[in-house]
């Protein structure tokens, strides 16, 4: 297990080799949420969330708008800390290590837990530079290796064939679906253990959505995926486990097929049968 504690080398780090394959340890990328409360200022939006996210599976988080789905996963990579009025209490354990501890190195944490957003976020630079972004940030490597890893990441994101001739065009020139896969390639390039996806297809057309869903199904062989979606069909199609959120609480969590066919809680049943939301 690689520690994510802050080390003193953060400032003047010696050149580090590129990411190593992670085949050896099958259990990496397990997340355990314990007693998580979240606040916007004085306003509490998450209440005692507890969740066990299995490694190398797809876990979907569903629920009506404003129920705290996105807020919940924004704790995992501590991106909420960009905003000074947001705070949380509780524990989120990544392979047993509490990532909310103040000693955690945020930069290494965010390498290990990637995030995809509701709207595609290509950086204002070329396709190649977009994918190389994290590699350049976290590692020092020869140009040839960089190029290889960019190519691999684009292949992993099922985008290589579409952009191989325009690697040096702006990422912003791609279509919406391509942009989103570019962001996925950018996240994959640094070999994260977990990929958080916050409604990744909400701004993508149906064809692009199908491609991204197919990608998610393939990617879970190598990393843990947590996907927030307002689309229950999507959750049913691609996830192994589903958590149903309502008003900041986790109402029900379990095997996706089980939850959709045989919900335990009445509120879950009402939601998935379309009685509200």
């Amino acid at each position: 297990m690689i520690a994510i504690e802050t080390t003193s080398q953060a400032e003047s780090a010696p050149p580090r080799p590129g990411p190593q394959p992670v085949e050896s340890s099958p259990a990496r990328g397990a997340i355990a949420v314990r007693n998580l409360d979240f606040f916007y200022g004085e306003h509490q939006v998450l209440f005692g969330n507890g969740l066990d996210i299995a490694p190398r599976k797809v876990t979907a988080i569903i629920g009506p708008s404003g129920c705290g789905k996105s807020t919940h996963i924004r704790v995992y990579n501590r991106i909420y800390e960009l905003y000074r009025d947001q705070r949380c209490t509780g524990e989120v354990l990544l392979d047993g290590q509490n990532l909310l501890a103040p000693t955690v190195d945020l930069i290494e944490l965010r390498r290990r837990i990637g995030m995809i957003f509701q709207t595609p976020t290509p950086f204002p630079m070329s396709v190649f530079d977009n994918v190389a972004y994290g590699l350049r940030l976290h590692y020092t490597m020869p140009r040839s290796e960089l190029a290889d890893r960019v190519k691999t990441a684009l292949e992993d994101a099922a985008l290589w064939d579409e952009v191989r001739d325009k690697l040096h065009h702006s990422g912003i020139e791609l279509s919406g679906g391509q942009q989103q896969r570019l962001c996925i390639a950018r996240a994959l390039a640094v070999e994260p253990e977990v990929l958080l996806m916050d409604e990744p297809t909400s701004a993508v057309d149906p064809v692009g959505t199908a491609k991204i869903e197919e990608l998610v199904r393939r990617l879970k062989e190598r990393l843990t995926i947590v996907i927030v979606t307002h689309n229950m069909q999507q959750a049913a199609r691609i996830s192994d486990f589903t958590a149903f959120f309502l008003d900041g609480r986790i109402v029900e969590f379990g095997d996706t097929t089980e939850l959709f066919t045989n919900p335990v809680d009445r509120k879950t049943e009402d939601y998935i049968t379309g009685r509200f939301g």
Partner: protein, 316 residues
Amino acid sequence: MSLENTSRRNTGDVLFHGAAVLAAALVLLLIAGIFTDLVRHSWLSITTFGPRFLWSGAWNPVTGEFGAASSLYGTFATTIIALVVAVPLSLLIALFLVEIAHPRLAGPVSGAIEILAAIPSIIYGMWGLFVFAPYLADHVQPALEALFGGIPWAGALFSGPPMGIGILPAGLILALMVLPFTTAVMRDVFGLVPRVLKESAAGMGSTTWEVFRNVMIPYGRKGLVGGIFLGLSRAIGETMAVTFVIGNDHRIAASLFASGNTIASTLANEFTEASDPLYLSALVELGLVLFVVTFLFQVAGHLWLRRLRGGAGGGR
């Protein structure tokens, strides 16, 4: 009911349309009028000196020899100093205001910067002459000389008696005057960077500085260039403050400590003294040169923006 235009709407529209076209035409007329007037009044000088006016360093009202070289040099030198100092500072202030400062602090700091922009330039000039110049002469210039003096090429730039007035002090005063404008534009530009883009960059493991350098600056570069050109056009024509601190000397010295002049400061200083028609005409031609230079910078700025839009890096 007929579908014909009612006469009321028709006349109203025609009037409004006409007024808008007239107002717009007025701008073009003004520019054309200023240009032709400048040419007309400098015609004597243009025909007397020809193109050599641009590179001749002579400025002698007694012998009737005039050239724009020293004024042009001073104008560019002070403008470059102003931008070299003001642009990085503005970027950092804008970053601070948008990304780092608590909103309760960002408000007052923003306000203070806008007040800087509202201070009349004569105040900057007086402050520059009576407060800033002595301070420069006593502390900054000796330090610069000690720092760069030994370096072969740069040493010459920072040599000579530290008088506190000259090209460098004028450039620094200009930097102060340009700062609020460039900062305000850059603050607005950075404020337009989508939140999700910044989150995404931070989510890749970027520090605040890396988000700023790698994503916010490239995203906003079009606006940033606009801000820099706004500063540039302000610096290039600024008159009063520069006249106070530049020393008003028609020469091109290697040292930035030496006094010099700019086109604007020369005009401000000498118009009242110019009794001779050729002298007056030469001054007007200086004004024409400034007009053309400013125009060329505007065109260059637009072309550069167009190139940025079409370029491979392509921001929005």
